[in-house]
């Protein structure tokens, strides 16, 4: 079974994000970039499926600038078999990403597509859902367990009230939540070997997708710095403050 995994290049989660002085976006100059953590979980899940003999080939795809090949190489070092890089320096919004991925799905015909539930840069949480809709595939989002069973996949999902398990017919789209697995570290020899695995580059035009944004960013601002808290003397005082000052109860 072929598994397609989408990975995104984002700001490394350890970096302190700074807003550009002109409020047009986040300052990316000389900032360390890495694979989106949810995508790492997606890659890990695919590799585990391959180790179990369920997956036979893992194709990893990334959309972004030339440097996004680093994240593809990371996925190859972790165990993916080949990479597809859709190269663009344009801003790619969720719908455009989903359309590009749909084009790749049409070509590759994977049985399972695994994506992160969201990327930590924009936190949109919609590419997987949009892809499922465009490709006419069932979706299991926020997965905490993925079990392939013949031509079906059982996906346990983390929802507000607890866990819910859905059964999907393959081919299907799964998006990963944090507790699905704990990604491994690529071994150093595998990082060297990943250099030799195939990586194919395409443009959005090759795939017939127009990247014109549907959304316009008006302004980006840093969140307000948290103010110091206060200590209250009693439960009564706390309730009083919540009621009369904060007006939340």
């Amino acid at each position: 079974m072929k598994v397609l995994v989408a990975v995104k290049r984002v700001i490394d989660y350890n970096v302190k994000v700074r807003v550009k002085p002109d409020n047009t976006g986040v300052d990316l100059a000389n900032v360390k970039m890495a694979m989106n953590p949810f995508c790492e979980i997606a890659v890990e899940e695919a590799v585990r499926l391959k180790e179990k003999g369920v997956a036979t080939e893992i194709v990893v795809v990334s959309i972004g600038p030339k440097a996004a090949q680093e994240q593809i190489r990371t996925a190859l070092a972790l165990g993916a078999d080949r990479g597809i890089h859709i190269e663009t320096d344009e801003e790619v919004q969720s719908l455009q990403a989903a359309k590009l991925l749909k084009a790749v799905v049409d070509k590759e015909e994977p049985k399972l597509v695994i994506l992160g539930k969201q990327s930590i840069d924009t936190d949109n949480n919609q590419t997987g859902q949009m892809l499922a809709a465009l490709a006419g595939m069932p979706q299991g989002t926020f997965a905490s367990e993925v079990v392939v069973d013949g031509d079906k996949v059982n996906v346990t999902r983390e929802v507000d009230g607890g866990l819910v398990t859905v059964q999907l017919n393959l081919p299907a789209v799964v998006t990963t939540d944090l507790r699905l697995n704990e990604p491994r570290y690529a071994s150093l020899p595998n990082i060297m070997k990943a250099k030799k695995k195939p990586l194919d580059t395409q443009s959005p035009a090759d795939l017939g997708v127009d990247l014109t944004p549907r959304l316009t960013t008006l302004k980006v601002e840093a969140p307000q710095t948290r103010k110091a808290g206060i200590k209250v003397g009693s439960v009564e005082e706390l309730v009083d403050k919540l009621k009369n000052e904060a007006k939340v109860i």
Partner: protein, 383 residues
């Protein structure tokens, strides 16, 4: 020499993360238990850390000196005990066999050293022989198709856990100098190889040394490195520069870690109404440490590049080892000072590192020996 920037960066990134997420959080535990947990050891093996300097053909990474130095700097950002367990496999434990060993010796041992399946030790020092290594007394006397080893080796890193020993012994009792010494590969389960009790060290808890006693230990004659007598000492000398630069890079990494800890503390700790980092006297400590660790970094990388280009770096490697090991001692002392009373307490990593780094000025050639090497080389070149 960096062969492929992108791949190397990926390697360093992965390592940085492994160090930060896996090794740093267990430093304290390793020190308290005097033991590296098995799962971490397995992960270090799986990462490929035992084969950094071993050629790809034998299952290693085949890093150049510059690449290895950059890797060692990353590893330096955590407890040196972690590095100690794979240090020998990347140094004399494999390099001696690789440089002067026969193809059969390489095939038999190197791939297992690269994966960490075999952990190795290097036996040179003896109770009465330290800096003057050429005068060693352990003997290896030919007896049929074996050599019989007798003698005691002291302070042998990884002695308790090693499965393979590179042993320097005198095959020619009439030649009291370096020319009478040969190098042997001795497997850990050879009868007559006896391990002493682990030493009680000042620091680097989790890494172990012990005596290795050879009591009529019979070693197959084919295990003499290079297949002939009298070249062992020269073999060891060929590996010295690499080892010294590797240790220097670790010193730089540790210095950078100590400085990061000290800076973090100084920015948080408030005395006299402001963070101590804003007091000028503390700033001097921070600045001196920064300048010195940067100097060390530049020295290591410059010497490493020259080594990769084939230049004889004997003098430079000694200069670098001398400077970096002394430098990290000063940086550690300042880091403790910046921490005030907290720096004297085991809750803070600087207390542990302060003891750990003391070793760097002693092994792989003491500071005095480095000074001798540097000055003697200078004089020889001027003659």
């Amino acid at each position: 020499m960096i062969r492929d920037e992108e791949t190397l960066n990926q390697l360093l990134d992965t390592l940085r993360r492994f160090v930060r997420e896996r090794l740093v959080p267990s430093e304290q535990h390793v020190a308290e238990e005097d033991r590296i947990p098995d799962d971490i050891l397995q992960e270090m093996k799986a990462m490929g850390l035992f084969g950094l300097s071993i050629p790809e053909a034998y299952g290693g990474l085949g890093l150049t000196m510059e690449e290895e130095a950059l890797v060692a700097m990353e590893i330096g950002r955590t407890s040196p005990a972690f590095r100690s367990i794979f240090g020998t496999n990347n140094g004399i434990g494999s390099q001696g066999i690789l440089i002067d060993g026969t193809e059969a010796q390489k095939q038999k041992y190197i791939p297992r050293l690269a994966t960490g399946e075999l952990i190795s030790s290097f036996c040179l020092t003896e109770p009465d022989v330290g800096s003057d290594a050429g005068s060693l007394r352990t003997t290896a006397i030919r007896d049929g198709d074996h050599y019989v080893l007798n003698g005691t080796k002291r302070y042998i890193t990884n002695g308790p856990e090693a499965g393979l020993f590179t042993v320097m012994a005198r095959t020619d009792p009439d030649n009291k100098g370096a020319g009478g010494i040969s190098a042997f590969i001795v497997e850990g389960d050879t009868p007559g190889l006896i391990r002493g009790k682990p030493d009680h060290k000042m620091g680097q808890k989790g890494a172990h040394t012990c005596d290795i006693i050879f009591d009529n230990c019979r070693v197959p004659a084919e295990n003499i490195i290079g297949g002939r007598e009298g070249v062992g000492f020269k073999t060891a000398m060929k590996v010295l520069d690499r080892g010294r630069l590797h240790i220097s890079a670790v010193c730089v990494g540790v210095a950078e870690r100590l400085l990061a800890d000290a800076l973090h503390f100084a920015m948080e700790r408030v005395q006299f109404g402001k963070p101590v980092a804003e007091h000028q006297l503390i700033q001097a400590l921070l600045a001196d440490s920064k300048a010195e660790s940067y100097a060390g970094r530049c020295m290591v990388l410059d010497a490493a590049r020259q080594k990769d280009e084939g230049v004889n770096v004997s003098t430079l490697a000694s200069c670098t080892k001398l400077f970096c090991s002394e430098m990290v001692g000063r940086v550690a002392d300042r880091a403790v000072q910046i921490h005030g009373g907290a720096g004297y307490m085991a809750e803070y990593a600087v207390e542990r590192f302060y003891r750990d780094v003391r070793l760097f000025r002693i092994y792989e050639g003491t500071s005095q020996i480095q000074q001798l090497v540097i000055a003697r080389n200078m004089i020889r070149e001027a003659q």
